[in-house]
Symmetry: D2
Subunit: 439 residues, 4 copies
Amino acid sequence: MVPRYSRPAMTAIWAAENRFKIWWDIEVFAAEAMGEIGMIPADDAQKILAAREAIEPVDVPAIDAIEAVTKHDVIAFLTWAGEKLGPERRWLHQGMTSSDVLDTALNVQLAQAADILLADLDELLAVLERRAFEHKLTPTIGRSHGIHAEPVTFGLKLAQAHAEFARNRKRLAAAREEIATCAISGAVGTFANIDPRVEEHVAKRLGLTPEPTSTQVIPRDRHAMFFATLGVIASSIERLATEVRHLQRTEVLEAEEYFSPGQKGSSAMPHKRNPVLTENLTGLARLVRSAVVPALENVALWHERDISHSSVERFIGPDATITLDFALARLTGVMDKLLVYPERMQKNLDRMGGLVHSQRVLLALTQAGLSREDAYAKVQRNAMKVWESDGALSLLDLLKADPEVTAVLSPVKLEESFDLGYHFRQVDTIFQRVFGRSA
Amino acid sequence: MVPRYSRPAMTAIWAAENRFKIWWDIEVFAAEAMGEIGMIPADDAQKILAAREAIEPVDVPAIDAIEAVTKHDVIAFLTWAGEKLGPERRWLHQGMTSSDVLDTALNVQLAQAADILLADLDELLAVLERRAFEHKLTPTIGRSHGIHAEPVTFGLKLAQAHAEFARNRKRLAAAREEIATCAISGAVGTFANIDPRVEEHVAKRLGLTPEPTSTQVIPRDRHAMFFATLGVIASSIERLATEVRHLQRTEVLEAEEYFSPGQKGSSAMPHKRNPVLTENLTGLARLVRSAVVPALENVALWHERDISHSSVERFIGPDATITLDFALARLTGVMDKLLVYPERMQKNLDRMGGLVHSQRVLLALTQAGLSREDAYAKVQRNAMKVWESDGALSLLDLLKADPEVTAVLSPVKLEESFDLGYHFRQVDTIFQRVFGRSA
Amino acid sequence: MVPRYSRPAMTAIWAAENRFKIWWDIEVFAAEAMGEIGMIPADDAQKILAAREAIEPVDVPAIDAIEAVTKHDVIAFLTWAGEKLGPERRWLHQGMTSSDVLDTALNVQLAQAADILLADLDELLAVLERRAFEHKLTPTIGRSHGIHAEPVTFGLKLAQAHAEFARNRKRLAAAREEIATCAISGAVGTFANIDPRVEEHVAKRLGLTPEPTSTQVIPRDRHAMFFATLGVIASSIERLATEVRHLQRTEVLEAEEYFSPGQKGSSAMPHKRNPVLTENLTGLARLVRSAVVPALENVALWHERDISHSSVERFIGPDATITLDFALARLTGVMDKLLVYPERMQKNLDRMGGLVHSQRVLLALTQAGLSREDAYAKVQRNAMKVWESDGALSLLDLLKADPEVTAVLSPVKLEESFDLGYHFRQVDTIFQRVFGRSA
Amino acid sequence: MVPRYSRPAMTAIWAAENRFKIWWDIEVFAAEAMGEIGMIPADDAQKILAAREAIEPVDVPAIDAIEAVTKHDVIAFLTWAGEKLGPERRWLHQGMTSSDVLDTALNVQLAQAADILLADLDELLAVLERRAFEHKLTPTIGRSHGIHAEPVTFGLKLAQAHAEFARNRKRLAAAREEIATCAISGAVGTFANIDPRVEEHVAKRLGLTPEPTSTQVIPRDRHAMFFATLGVIASSIERLATEVRHLQRTEVLEAEEYFSPGQKGSSAMPHKRNPVLTENLTGLARLVRSAVVPALENVALWHERDISHSSVERFIGPDATITLDFALARLTGVMDKLLVYPERMQKNLDRMGGLVHSQRVLLALTQAGLSREDAYAKVQRNAMKVWESDGALSLLDLLKADPEVTAVLSPVKLEESFDLGYHFRQVDTIFQRVFGRSA
C-alpha cells in the first residue's frame, strides 16, 4: 500500500483492528451456534455473545506482544480476547481450525472492499451519466487509428464509458458474491469436530454463504476470479484515462483535467497543463492488473492446502483493492470536473475542410444516379484539393463550384450532406439503450 | 495453435471456412432486415436470403487470391460471395463497416467456442461426480503443507474438484453471455448509415444480444473478461492435475494415470509410470493463462478504435480456446480412467502408526476429565515414541499399555477414538451440498 | 504461429526438418566423440560421422508414421535415421537420454533464432542511425505528458531509439550466450553411462557451451531469462511504434507510415492514412511479452525434471521468436520509409506563438538583473495573452512591445532567446555518445 | 511493503531519509561541477559542497509540510535544504529539471538495492557450496516426473542450485550495471540549460554511468530489464523452495526445514512439521514476479515522457526489492540449517528393491553377450516381481536366483551392477565445473 494512493475507508478494512473485529465476530457467532445446538452450554454461549462489543478498542500492540511469544496469530488474539470473558472462554474456537477464522475473515474483508468499490462505481456511473447528457449533442470528431473518421458526440463517448463501467459493476457484484463465503469445517474440511450448522449460522450472521465444501481452506479459484475482475475494471479505467490524455494533447485540446484558476502551471508556460491525473491512473491500472497473475498462480495449492497463497494475499489483498478504490475515485473526480471545450471540438471537426462528410456526399451522388465509380472520382478530385490545402479550402465550397457535381446535386442537397445532425439521429436510441432514457 | 494439443471441433471454429460462413450469415441477415424495413427492395433481400447456403463449399484459396489484390479481407470475401448472387449483390454490406462484420463474427466464434467448453465442463463434471460417489467413503489421509493431517475420503477430494468446476461452468456461462453480442453500427458506432433495427435483427438471428453502444468496434472489456475466465478455469485444471501428480509420486502412489496393460514403461523399470498427462496439463494451464494479460492490455484502445487488439486476438482467440478444450478433455480422460489404489491410501493413512488420531484422543481425555495440559502430556509422550519408530509402533497399542491413560479411558473408548468413521459423519452433508444428493 | 506475422527464415528454424537435422548432428557428433575416447569402435564412429549429410532430405511423414507406433519422438527419428547406416547404427544414442537430444536441440534452435534477431536488430539500428543523421537538426517540439515542452530535434528522437535498441542488442547477445548450452549427461545428469567428454565435444562442434551441471534437463532459468529479454525488446518496439502512432494523428501529422502513391486510402477520405503497421506492432509487442510469465513459471520443475515446461515451449518457442522477428523487420521497414514532415513539425512548434521559449526569456530577464518574481510576472502576463489567442499572437512580438521588458532586454537580445539553435548546441555531444560520431 | 517480509537495510533504502540524502548529493555534486566549469561562482560551489552533511538528520515531516503547500516534492525539499545554506542557495538546481533528480535518485536506490541483493546471493551461494560439499556423496534417488529414476547425490542437487544462483548473480550484476545511470539533461534531454559535464561529474561522484541520451526521463527499458531479472531470480527461489517442500512430505521426509528442539509442532502430532518457510517463499516468488509485467508496460511512455511509470515504481521499486531480499535471506537460512536425513534417503532409494539399477543390469547382460531383447525379458520378469511385492523383494536377490541370469553374469558381476558408486564417478567432474574445485 502506498499512502498517497489510498483512501481511509478502504485502508481501514485492511487495518489490524478490523481484522481482529471480524475474527471476534466469527468466534462469537460460532459460540452462539454451538450453544444453540448444544455443543457447549447455552448460558456460556450467551455470555460470549454478550461480550461481542467488549473487545473494543482492540489493543493491537498487546496482541502483537502475545504473538511474539506464541508465534501464532489466532492463538495470540484468542488469548488476548479471552480475557474479556470469564471461564466460558474455554469454549471459544471449539473444534475449529485457524483457517476457519482466517479464511472467513479474509472473505469478509474482500466483501467489504467490494462494497466500497461498488459504491465507487455507482458514483462514477452517476457522473458519467450526468456529463453524457450534458454533452449528448456536442459534436466532436470520431477517430479510428487516431485519424479523423466521422462525427460523433462527446456524450456518446461518455455513454460508451458508462456502458463499460455498468458492465464492470455487474462483474464486480458477481465477484463479490463468489467471494462472500464462510468456511468453518475444521482441519481438513470434514467437519470432524464441528457441526456444519455452526458454519451455516456464522455465515448467516455475517451475510455470507456457507462454502459448499472446503479443504482446510476456502478454494482459491474464488479469489482468482475476484482479482481477475479487478484487473478488468482497472483496464477500463486505463481506457477512459487514455481517452482524456489524448483529448488534452496540445494539438487536440478538446478537454482538460480540471485546473483551478489559481493553480500555477509549469512556471511561465500557461499551456503546460499536464494530464497528470489520468497518466497516474494509467500507471495504477497496471498495478491493479499485476495482482491477476499471482492470484491465478495461487489456485493450485497442494492437497488440502499449502500456505503459499498467504504471503501473496497479504500484498494483493490490500494493494489491489486500495489502489482500485483510489483510482475509481480519482477517475470520478476527473470526469466530474473535466473541462470540455466544444468550440475546440468543432474546430478540430472542421479542420479537414469538411472531408469527414465525403462519404455521405458519395452516397448522395450515387443515389442521385451516378455510378459508384463516377461519384467516387468527382468526390476524390475535390477532396484531394482540400487535403492538400491542409484544411484551408472547404469541400462544400469546392463541390458547389464543380459543375459536374452541381449538375446532379443542387447546392441545397449538397449542404444537406454536410449536416452533422444526420450523424446524430440515433443518439437518442443509443442513450435509451444505455441509460433507459434519452432525455 | 499446436496440432498435438488440439481437437477437431474447436479447431474448425477457427478455420477460414467457418469465419466466412459467419460473415455471410451476418451479411445475409442484415440484408433480410434491410428488406423488411425498406432500406433495400424486399425482393432483392429475399433473393439474398435464399442464397444463404449458396456459398458452400467456401473456396478459401479463391478468396485469398482476391485479397492478395484488394488487400482487404471483407471486400475480398464479398467480391467472391457476391458472384453467387445476381444484381441484388449491390445491396450487400449497405451502410455497414468492416468491423461490423469482423467483430460480430469474432463474437460468434467465441460463443461457439464457449459452447464446446461448456460441454467439456459438463463431461468433466459428470466424470467427477461418478468417481466421487465411487470413492465417497474411500479413506485417505488429508494433507496440509504436504504433511499428514487428518483423514478425508478420496470422494471428498473429487467432490471439491466438482464444486470448483461447477463454479467454473457458471463463470464461463456468464463470460459467454458477455461475449455474445452483435454490433452493426457503422464507422464510428453512430448508426449514421444503418438502421439500429438491422443490428437487432441480425443479433436475433445469430442468437446474440445487440451491443448497447459500440464505437467502430465492440468494446474489449468483454473479451478481457472472457479470457480472464479461461485463465481461472486453467488454474483449476492445474490444481487437479497437481493433485494427481502428487498422488502418483513413487512414495505416495495412491493413484495413477491410466496405463494400459500392454503399455511399456521406461525399459526395464516397471515403476516408471510417469504422470505425463497431468504434467502436460500443468504446462497447458500456464499457456492458457498467458492470454489473460494481453487481453487486459487490449482494452484501452485509442478513441473510437485502434487495431492493436487484432493481432493479439489472432493468436489468443484460437490458442486459448483450442488449448483449453484439449486440456479439459484430457483432464476428463485422466479422471475417468484414473487408477485409484485404496489399499495404498489405507497404508499411507496407517503409516504414522495412528498419529493422525492423536487430536481426537486428546479431546476424549479432556472430556473424560483430564486437564488439557495433562491430557496433552500423556498423548505427547506416546506419540513421540510412535514418531521415533517411523511408524513401526502403534499409538493405540501404546495408549492401551499406558496405565495413566487407561485409568481414564477404557480400551473400548480408546478404540473409538481411532475410528475413521468419526471423521466421515458429515460426508453425506457435503455430498448433498455439492451434488444435491448423497447417494 | 500466425502465418501473416511470420517470415520464412525464422519459421524454418522451427520446422520439423530443422529439428531433425539438429538431432542428427547431436547424435553424429556424440558418436564421433565416443569413437575418439574409445567408448565405441573408432571405425564405426567414422562411418556415422561420414553419414552426417545422409539424412537429407528429411522424410518427416515417414518419421511421424514411426512415432505413431512407438509413441516416442526420439526413438522414431533414430529408427528412421538409423536406416541410413549399416550395423554401426547400434552405437547411436549410446548411454544418452532423450532429453540430452531434445534440450540441446532446443537450445540450438533458440541460438539460431537469436542470431536472426540479432541481425534484425542490426538492420533496425542501421536504419535508425541513417535517419537520425538525416534529421539530426530537424526541429520539432519535445512533449512531456503529451503537452508541448521545449524544442528537440527529430534526429534526437531517433538517436534515443537507437540507444535503446543498442541496449537491446547487448541484452539479446547475453541471452543468446545463456541459452547456447549443451547437455549430454544421461537420465539424471550424473553422466552415469556417458563420458562428460562427449558433452564437451558435441558442445564444441555445435558452437555451444557445456552445461556445467544439468539434471535430466537443462535448467529452465536460462530459458526464462531468454524470453524475458524478448519481452523487454518487444516493449521497446511498442515504445517506438507508439511514437509513430502519435506523430501520425490527424492533429499532429509530423510523420506518417509510408503510403505508396497509388495506394488508396479509405474511399473518398484522402486523410485516412492509418498507422496500421505501428498499431499492429503494438499488438505484437503484447503477444511477445505474454511469453514471459509462462517462461518464468517453467523454472520450478519438480526434482530432476517434470515435463510441464514442454508444452509451454512448443508454443512460446516458435511464437515469441517468429513474432519478434516479424515485428523487428516491420519496424525497420516503417522507420526506413517513414514519411517525415519537417514543415509540419515547425508549424506545430510555432503553434503556441513562441511560448516554448518562455523559460529561456525568463532566464534572460533574470540574468539581466530582474528578480525572479518580477521576471516571472512580466513573462506570464504576455504568455497568457498568447495562450488565450490560441497561437494567433506571438510571444516575441508582445515582449518587444512591452516597454518594461525592452527596458531590460533589447529586441536583439529578445530574439536571441527565441533562437532554436540554443536548444541544439549539445546535439553533437549526444550523437557522439550514441553513435561514436556526430557527423 | 509488508513489514513481516522485510529487512531493515533494504527497507532503509526506500525510506524518505535516504531518498532526500540522494537528492541532496545530486544537487551538491551538480553545484560542484557547475563551479568547476564556471556556470556558477566557484566559491559558492565550494560552500554548497561543504554543506553536504548539513542536512542530516533529514526532517521529513518538515519537508512534507512544505510539499503540502507547494505540491511539488523536489521544490519542497530544496526549500527545506536551502535553509542550510547562505545566499549561495540560489545556485541550487540551476538549469536542472525535477526528473534529473528523481530519476537519478531512483537509479541510485535501485543500485543500492542491487548491492544488497548481490550480497544476499553471495551468502546463499556460500551456504549452498558448504552444504553441497557436506553431502557431495550422500546418495539419494533422482526423480523425473516425481517417479524414482536413477541415483544422484544430495550434494549434486545443491551444486545444481549453486550453479543456478551463480547465473542469477551474474544476471543481477548486469542488471545493476544497466540501471546505474545518471541523467542531468534538462526538460527534454537536450542539455539546453545545463552542461553535459555536470551530468558526467555527478555520475562519477555517485558511481554511475552518464545516460548516453535521455528524454525528460531515463528510458524505462533499463528498469524493465532490472525487474525482469528479479523475476528470474524469484523463479529460481521457487524452484529450490519447491524441492525442499517435496523432500519434507510425510512420505518422502528426506529433509526438513530446521525445527528447534523446543519448538512445538501442531499440538499432539509430532510429525506435523510443516515446510512453511519454503511454502512462504513460493508465494513471495509469485509476488516478486508480479512486478515484471507492469515494468514491461512502463517502457512505452509517450513522447519525451509521461508520468504513468511513476505510480507503478512507487509500488514495485520497494516491494520487489524488499521482498526479494527477504526471500533470499530466508532461503539462505533454510538451506543453512536444513535437516538432512541420509538414512531416509537411502531407505527411499532402496524402496523399490533395487529396481533403480535395472537399467545397468540390462547393460551388463548385453555386454555379456545377450541380445537386447533377451536381456530385457530376463530383467523385466524379475523386475515385475519386485514391483508387485511393493519393495519387499530384492531385484538383486531374484537375479542371483535366476539361473538364466547367473549363466551369463556371476553373482559378483551382478553385485557390481548394484553399486551406487558407479553413478557417482563423475561427481568430482561436476563439482569441479561448478565450484572450480572438487574437494
